[in-house]
């Protein structure tokens, strides 16, 4: 990094010595901290100002990611009609934009007909409580799924995923399979619910999975003595499992570097 700055400084001095009266120079906008998705918005980040030189100067920039993922250096270059050039730098510290996430219908491999829909809604409820991401309205997702004729979201191909992400404007999809959703009778403890699922958080633009987990919950996980602490209600158990999934999704999202510098 230091080496690059030194090299360009020589170039600027070289220009200055060649054009004595009104040398070409560049004034860069200030360095700042911006959300990831604003890096390409020049109205927000500003443009470098050309001073002096001869004729109309061309102005361009290129972005370079520094070793630390969240730092981007913008190198502005101006060149006038006399062939003189000038350079200046603008540094950005990127912070993640609030990600938009859609929970897609789960593949139901369990024996419970409505199990997939119940868990999907519980996941939406759990994810909707966080302010760290925006949950796309379930109605909008359902509509886009049926219009796009996506039969099995967990097995979407690239085209389906692209179209769906454009329609619902999602950056992430939560997809998965419900493996088990049932209640069995224990002779001592009574009804014991069991839920298992495999979930994945996928990036909408390339389908890459950034988090995946198999989650299991059994009603007597919390039993400590003679059926005390047993959860008998499958919906409450599902809500707890959904909360754990939402926490893990939140952690995975916060660990993501900015998508604009992928």
């Amino acid at each position: 990094m230091n080496r690059v700055v030194a090299t360009v400084a020589v170039l600027v001095f070289g220009c200055a010595s060649a054009v004595s009266a009104d040398p070409l120079s560049l004034n860069c906008p200030p360095s700042e901290t911006i959300p990831c998705d604003q890096l390409d918005n020049l109205d927000r980040t500003g443009r470098a100002k050309v001073v002096g030189g001869c004729g109309d100067a061309s102005l361009m920039f290129r972005d370079s990611v520094l070793a630390v993922d969240s730092l981007v250096i913008r190198i502005w270059t101006a060149e006038d009609t006399c062939g003189e050039s000038a350079v200046c730098f603008q540094l950005f510290t990127l912070v993640s934009a609030i990600p938009r996430i859609a929970v897609l219908p789960l593949e139901n491999l369990s024996s419970a007909e409505e199990g997939g829909r119940v868990l999907q809604r519980l996941l939406e409820d759990a994810l909707g409580r966080s302010t760290d991401h925006v949950l796309i309205s379930p109605a909008k997702v359902d509509d886009a799924i049926s219009r796009g004729r996506v039969r099995q979201p967990v097995l979407m191909d690239d085209d389906q995923r692209q179209k769906l992400s454009e329609t619902v404007e999602a950056q992430y999809f939560l997809v998965g399979s419900l493996l088990n959703y049932e209640v069995y009778q224990d002779q001592y403890s009574g009804p014991i619910p069991m839920i298992s699922c495999a979930l994945q958080l996928q990036r909408a633009h390339d389908g890459r999975t950034i988090w995946s987990e198999s989650l299991h919950a059994v009603g007597n996980d919390g039993e400590w003595l003679f059926a005390l602490g047993v959860e008998h209600d499958i919906t409450r158990l599902g809500r707890e499992l959904a909360r754990k999934a939402a926490d893990a999704v939140g952690n995975a999202l916060s660990a993501q570097p900015c998508s604009v510098i992928r």
Binding site: E107, L109, Q152, V154, L155, M156, D157, D158, Q160, R161, G176, S177, L179, N180, Y184, Q187, M194, S196, A198, L199, Q200, G207, T209, S212, E213, S214, H216, V218
Partner: protein, 189 residues
């Protein structure tokens, strides 16, 4: 005291067998580092549960993604290509893919290796007063262009207690046991 020691020594093989790993074959001629991009084919189910193949495949995919040793062909893309190839070859699932089919899939998905799975057991089994899961399956990584086996593992376990009397190390659900076994199987790669 001596008698106790004799019992302990007698019980040792049982304990060791309960903790032993799966038997895996790794082709000595294969360069495992070459397989960067792999796809996972549909798993065949020989178990009573007709959806056992799908269930185990989803659990395995989760563990494979967490393992992060491979770039995985997106499952939607792989399934679509596999279905197309089977249709072209008039090969009704779960008939095994031949080397031509594997090569066609590889060409269209860019996979260097393909993982094939067969589920043999996926059910709850009664042991005394309680029911425990029983899961058994085998996995194969084949070289996609040639169909040669690169890695093969067979694994199975009942989720009951690891020691008599004490309920130590029990696994109560099929998916939890399947997750543990998938993780163990991947550890042999």
């Amino acid at each position: 005291m001596t008698r106790r020691l004799v019992y302990l020594i007698a019980a040792l093989p049982l304990f060791v067998s309960a903790c032993s790993g799966p038997g895996a074959y790794v082709n000595p001629d294969a360069d495992m580092g070459y397989y960067q991009r792999v796809g996972v084919a549909m798993f065949e189910s020989l178990a009573e549960d007709s959806k056992a193949g799908q269930k185990l495949q989803r659990i395995f995919l989760t563990e494979l993604l967490k393992h992060q040793d491979f770039e995985l062909v997106p499952q939607g893309q792989f399934d679509k290509v596999e279905t197309d190839v089977r249709t072209k070859q008039v090969l009704i699932w779960p008939a095994p893919l031949d080397s031509t089919g594997l090569a066609m899939i590889a060409q269209q998905t860019g996979a260097q290796g393909i993982i094939i799975g067969t589920v043999r057991e996926f059910r709850m089994e009664r042991v005394g007063q309680e029911e425990f899961p029983l899961v058994a399956f085998s996995l194969k990584l084949v070289d996609a262009p040639t169909g040669r086996v690169v890695w093969d593992v067979s694994i199975g376990e009942r989720g009951g207690p690891k020691l008599p009397v004490f309920s130590f190390g029990e696994t109560h659900t099929l998916s939890e046991l399947a997750t543990k076994l998938c993780r163990r199987a991947l550890g042999t790669m």
